[in-house]
Amino acid sequence: MKKTIVIGGAAGEGINTAAQFVERMVKEKGLYFLSYKNYMSRVRGGYNFTTLTVSDVPVHSICDEADFFLALNEEATQFAKLHTAPDGLIATTETTSESGLISLKSEALDAIKNKNSGTMAGVGAIAAYLGFERDKLMHLEQTKWSEVINRQNAEAAALGYALFQSVEHPVWQLKEPEKPQIMLNGNTAVALGAIAAGAGFYCAYPMAPSTGIMAYLMKKQKTTHMLVEQAEDEIAAMMAAIGAASNGVRAMTGTSGGGFSLMVESLGFAAVSEVPLVACNVQRPGPATGLPTRTEQADLLFTLFASQGEFARIVLAPTSVSDAFYTTFRAFNLAEKYQVPVLILTDQYLADSTVTTNRFETEALKIERYTQTEPIEDYKRYEFENYIGNRKYPGIDSQSVIMTDSHVHDVYGHVSEAQDVTNALKQKMMAKMKMILEDLNKPELVGVSDYKHLMIAWGSTAGIVREAVEMLNENGQKVAALCFSDIYPMSENVLEAYVKPGVTVVNVEGNATNQFGKLLRMETGVKYARSINRYDGRPFTAKGIVQSMEVIVNESI
């Protein structure tokens, strides 16, 4: 069973608050959800909406079509009529007699003199629609607001609840989850991954949709003994992270494409001076300012080749909120192991999707620093044939003196223009890439093993594709998907085991130029036969992918 709730209205009308109440109820009920914020680049007004897909199994994708639409103003009501399933319900805070619309308005509601009463009635209505017990509304009384407001909210919700109590209710297959469930979005997961990895310093400049990482870390900096600093610009943010990382503190920065563009030179500095830097690019649609609050996966090739010259780097693209946590954690170990910058690519979809997911396991996580604390005579910080475990930083012992340099440099970190040094430095970079390759995770194959069509997806789209495969397999389609979370370096043979004669490769990406498809061809020689792309700033949905795949599968019959 799966139900999709949409809450639409203007910025400032309480969409987020309403969604949070619903999320909490859903979770307490023991159900799963994924809720995604679809908002404009403005502070008040406009048309925004949150889509909440609720299910008795974990959810990786929203549905575009609402089963229940809560419209908080006139404009939203118009949208509701277009985006609600034929058998769906539309509740509006407007007065209406139009058929198909149910008004939440009543004299009793008006009597509650509170500007949010309509929204709260909507929360009640949703609770009733989903078949929840009335006491699930209790949260409305336990908030940071005043007692009066809490009571008014609860009253309004009760009115909405009453109105929808008698509609048909979904029958949930409730089962106790194996593991305790937590509720968070992709940005928070990245932040938690960094904390788990022992990051001490985070420095960034505000930029949608990445600001949430900094905001969470800032809120927690006291308990986590971190220092979180808003930089004057993104160049400073990354340089400061490098400064800290090269002095022994795990450090990170985060931004979106425009900010990452500004960090490109510094990235090369981290690489050539072998500083373990972690940076997260939360992608949004470009070019340039693009669509600040929307989603896209169009920074991949840019991220892979950003900065002048050639150097070792790692690119990871978590496929889900939970993966975002573990991948970020792993990023720090990889960065310190190979002394390379690690770039994490997420996107607005992942960043602004809140989900229920298994509580992260910290038992098995181990911080591995690969530093050298033993005193060493004539220590060579940058020995050309020493890749792992030789790292010292200033102050790590009482005798070493450490040099960090942005030029071609010798084993001590001092500028050199010698030909052999130049060659050796380059070869070290290339050798690292080979070693890293062995350490990265292989892509995950999901779906039936006798597939005829193989979808390929990376990052957040892979999460959605996973759900699409399940649906396709349920429909009897012989489809599988290869899901990439670890992106680069990439093995020339990565597809060998999967792309067999008779298999049609379908590339699925949130961009127009099939960047991952290009990368695969570049590295493996395999070119996808078909592709499914979305680049209107909105996320894929599993259902949308299923529909596109059905067309493709039918074509080839």
Binding site: P180, Q181, I182, M183, L184, L192, I195, A196, A197, G198, G200, F201, C203, Q221, K222, T223, T224, H225, M226, L227, E229, A231, E232, I235, A236, M239, A240, A241, I242, G243, A244, A245, S246, N247, G248, V249, R250, A251, E265, S266, F269, F329, F360, T362, L365, I367, P394, G395, S398, S400, V401, I402, M403, T404, D405, S406, H407, G413, H414, V415
Partner: protein, 281 residues
């Protein structure tokens, strides 16, 4: 033997003012009884910025214009290291202008020595932000078209708590100023007049020598408006050297009360997230 001295050959031109600055810095560090392991010298890119390669101490030779934020990161990681920033006028006031401004706003605890030769040395003689209006350079054949930046007035206006000028040709004075800057807790900016014998034929050793004068003993560096006024003087009317402005205020790390020790000293564990995860249950 001064432990900060290296035998490395420099790539500086014979007669360059940079030698005097390197020498003075090394002496001050030794006289402060510091060890090379206690000091981190950060720079950007330029002739001046090569200094970290010529001194025996921890060093970071970063990117053109980016020394200040790199120094900030290093400092928050490990404030136990005495932090020296040594870079050129182009690096500091040109490419790096924004970082200087905001580094000062943070009041980082740093000694920032600007080798101000009023020219881009390493790239062979283009005008820098401090090159005089109208001055002809190896690129500006028709003379500079921008008004020169006044580093002293700038620093005072954006709230720098230690604003000084010295001259590489007066090592005694320079050492005194560096010492005072090292004793100051907060952002200490020293603009050091430094003749570039290869590319600046106007602001020569003699040119500076003939114009610099020490601020009188009676000068009170705590009056901001007076300091601003004093900072207006430059060029043929004479160039005041010394501490133009000084004011005590809490330094950057002093503003974060939740840290009990340098970040680098915290032992960390993945378990730290457990209580945070509980909040999300």
């Amino acid at each position: 033997m001064n432990p900060f001295k290296l035998n490395t050959k420099t790539t500086w031109c014979p007669g360059c003012g940079n030698f005097g600055i390197l020498e003075s810095l090394s002496q001050v560090l030794e006289e402060a009884s510091l060890k090379p392991q206690d000091v981190l010298v950060v720079s950007g890119i330029g002739q001046a910025a090569k200094l970290p390669h010529y001194i025996h101490a921890h060093g970071m030779n970063t990117l053109h214009g980016r020394a200040v934020p790199a120094a900030m990161g290093a400092h928050v990681a490990n404030p136990a290291l005495k932090l020296i920033l040594t870079s050129g006028d182009g690096d500091t006031y040109g490419e790096g202008g924004n970082h200087l401004l905001h580094g000062i706003r943070r009041n980082l605890d740093i000694v920032h020595m600007v080798h101000d030769n009023q020219v881009y040395g390493l790239t062979k003689g283009q005008g820098s932000p401090t090159t005089a209006f109208g001055q002809v350079t190896r690129l500006q054949y028709d003379g500079m078209k921008s008004d020169p930046l006044n580093p002293m007035a700038f620093a005072i206006s954006v709230g720098c708590g230690f604003v000084a000028r010295s001259f590489s040709g007066d090592p005694k004075h320079l050492k005194e100023i560096i010492k005072a800057a090292m004793a100051y807790k907060g952002y200490a900016l020293i603009d050091i007049l430094q003749p570039c014998v290869s590319f600046n034929q106007v602001n020569t050793f003699k040119w500076y020598k003939d114009r610099v004068f020490k601020l009188p003993e009676t000068y009170d560096p705590h009056d901001k408006v007076r300091a601003f006024e004093m900072a207006q003087q430059f060029g043929d009317e004479g160039i005041p050297i010394g501490i133009l402005y000084q004011e005590q205020k809490t330094d950057f790390l002093g503003r974060f009360s939740h840290l009990e020790k340098p970040l680098v000293q915290y032992e960390r564990s993945p378990k730290a997230v457990d209580t945070l995860l509980d909040e999300l249950l």
